[in-house]
Amino acid sequence: MSAAGGVALGVLGGAIRISTPFLFVSLGECLTEKSGRVNLGLEGTLVMGAMGAYGISYLTGSPWLGVLAAGVLGLALGALHAFLCARPRVNDVAVGIALMLFGVGLAFFLGKPLIGPTAPHLPAVSAGWWSSSAQLRSALQINALFVLGLLTTAAVRFLLRRTRWGLVIRTVGESADASRAMGYDVARVRLFATMAGGFLAGVGGSFLSLYYPGSWNEGLSSGQGLMAVALVIFARWDPVRCLLASLLFGGASALGPALQSVGVTSGYYLFNAAPYALTLAIIIATSSRDRALHGQPAELRVAR
């Protein structure tokens, strides 16, 4: 197979493999931001989720229990964020940064004994059985969480667009005053939205430790949680566009390793910066000084 084909396959495989944490974190952040609050701390939630999932999977032998534990840890961190931000005069961006540092620090602290032992992994579905090319088959290994992510995308879209709860969340995100006048408890709606967002981000973290790269160590996350937050802006607060953007970012992240595998080694670190540069380019291209972004919850505009 030609080198270009090899790179393309690597990027395709990466799009499926690496996009999963992006997808879960961005869906979670999308849900939270729709309620009118930004949680920048999902990077910490992601790392905590990765650690918790690995620990529980190692102790119980069941990776799915690990995924659940990661979600519950995310839920708790989301509740902490919502509790702090509901106090008057507390800056939600700063709380997010603090939770990011706290979550990462706590995960490294508690995860120290987990560096080394191997925990059972999540299963994968092979969608490349029809091909005789081993490379193609490995690129089309679809992990179970990715499938779950596709279902979650549809569920979040349905929740936001077609249900009463979704309407309440969007109302709170558009105008806190109007929702208060209608008798909704703004703080409680945001609490639930932030907790649900934390749950999804935690599940995204479990993917890192239980499937790919598939072990727990301190260099596990390279800012996927942060990029996912930026990605929500790019996706215009729409779950389906979050999915497409995650696939794009997964592919960009796989570019460096794919090029290395076909022998292009110079500039390895620069290619590793590709997803960050892409994110930056996209938010620069889509931002504007004068006009608000389409689909942006109005409460976030006030906060900026």
Binding site: L40, L80, L84, R87, P88, R89, V90, N91, V93, A94, V95, I97, A98, L99, L101, F102, G103, V104, G105, L106, F108, F109, K112, S222, G223, L226, M227, V229, A230, I233, S266, G267, Y268, Y269, L270, N272, A273, Y276, A277, T279, L280, I283, I284, S287, S288, R289, D290, R304
Partner: protein
């Protein structure tokens, strides 16, 4: 954005009020309110730090350590002995500078996290043998300044979210550092740990006379004082704080808010860039990946605890530098992981942010209506 609140504390209005006898009652109230705010500005952070220490103590108890013993060792490892105090000073120096990178834009209401990236970006100019000391610092500051000012300009002229932008720039700067250190600027003699060519002993930053602390401490203290004067005692600083309090009011008054954003981010980045240059010139001697040690992120914490006041950055840097320098001792004595310090910092950060809600409560003299 709790930061702009301090505008009410600015000394500008008070003499005017005191000059009129009819307003003596008002002047007394204003004085009482000013005293109340002064007490508050010390008492609230002190309470938050105490709460954080209690929470961290409980955490230590849960992991089976005696919190009092842990705090005793932490004190010994940070301020308790002359040796450890010098280590604390050494760590506080870059913190002062990276904290300024967040503190100056914070005055304008911008949350910028560029310190880490600006420190790393500095490595770009280390073309070793040709660089001389002064040129090295000037270039370091300019590169760092330009790096963060880029994010400031994007915020000002394009509305890009400055927090996410600077976080992404940090990752890009670190990747750039790794690329240059492994590739174009690599010293062929550095095998195990890729580095640039050493800058040479002549260009190293020496120690302060009689101390085991390098000159970077003086740079840090100086920068904090200069920026304190700039922000508290000049019209530029007043305008910046006004824009931080109410951007629309500042713009309606004709203040060049966009240019001020770019300038403040540039100055902040300049400070962080200097921190990077000092770390190279005083500690490492070459630029390599060990420049990225989290000073930038700890600096963000310092800036928030100091409530973006450059003078308050100095004591807070000492406190967090002390926590950092006690980390090694905690690892040895209590067999704690190196992330222990990060956990304490995280709890501290959350407690400080939560304490913002305690400000201006009714137990203190009410601020008169401005």
């Amino acid at each position: 954005m709790g930061v702009g609140v301090s505008i009410g504390a600015s000394p500008v209005g008070e003499p005017v009020v005191a000059a009129r006898p009819a307003d003596e009652q008002g002047a007394r109230e204003a004085r009482a309110a000013a005293i109340g705010r002064a007490i508050e500005s010390v008492a609230v952070p002190a309470a938050a730090i105490s709460i954080a220490l209690v929470l961290f103590g409980l955490f230590m108890l849960l992991t089976g350590r005696n919190p009092l013993a842990v705090y005793h060792e932490m004190f010994r490892g940070s301020f308790g002995t002359w040796f450890s105090f010098q280590n604390t000073l050494q760590r506080a120096a870059p913190l002062m500078l990276t904290a300024l990178a967040t503190a100056l834009p914070l005055r304008l209401g911008l949350v910028v996290l560029g310190g880490e990236g600006a420190m790393a970006a500095v490595a770009v100019h280390f073309h070793a043998p040709t660089s001389i000391k002064v040129a090295m610092f000037v270039a370091g500051g300019l590169v760092g300044g330009a790096w963060v000012a880029g994010a400031g300009a994007l915020r000002a002229y394009r509305g890009v979210n400055e927090t996410i932008c600077t976080l992404l720039l940090n990752y890009i700067a670190i990747a750039l550092l790794n690329h240059l250190v492994e590739g174009p600027l690599r010293d062929p003699a550095s095998l195990n740990k890729p580095s640039t060519l050493p800058i040479g002993d002549d260009n190293m930053l020496g120690n302060l006379p009689g101390l085991d602390v390098h000159w970077g401490l003086v740079w840090g203290l100086g920068a904090c004082l200069v920026f304190w004067v700039l922000m508290q005692r000049t019209t530029f600083g007043f305008a910046a704080r006004m824009a931080g309090g109410n951007v629309r009011a500042a713009m309606l008054n004709g203040l060049p808010v966009r240019r001020m954003i770019v300038l403040c981010t540039f100055l902040g980045g300049l400070a962080a860039g200097l921190a990077g240059a000092i770390e190279v010139a005083a500690i490492h001697g070459t630029a390599n990946a060990s420049l990225v040690t989290g000073y930038g992120y700890t600096g963000v914490l310092v800036a928030f605890i100091a409530r973006a006041n450059p003078a308050a950055v100095i004591p807070v840097s000492l406190l967090l530098g002390g926590i950092g320098s006690s980390g090694g001792l905690l690892q040895r004595v209590f067999d704690l992981p190196d992330a222990t310090v990060n956990v304490l910092q995280g709890i501290l950060f959350l407690a400080i942010l939560f304490s913002d809600t305690l400000r201006g409560r009714s137990w203190l003299p009410r601020r008169s209506v401005a």
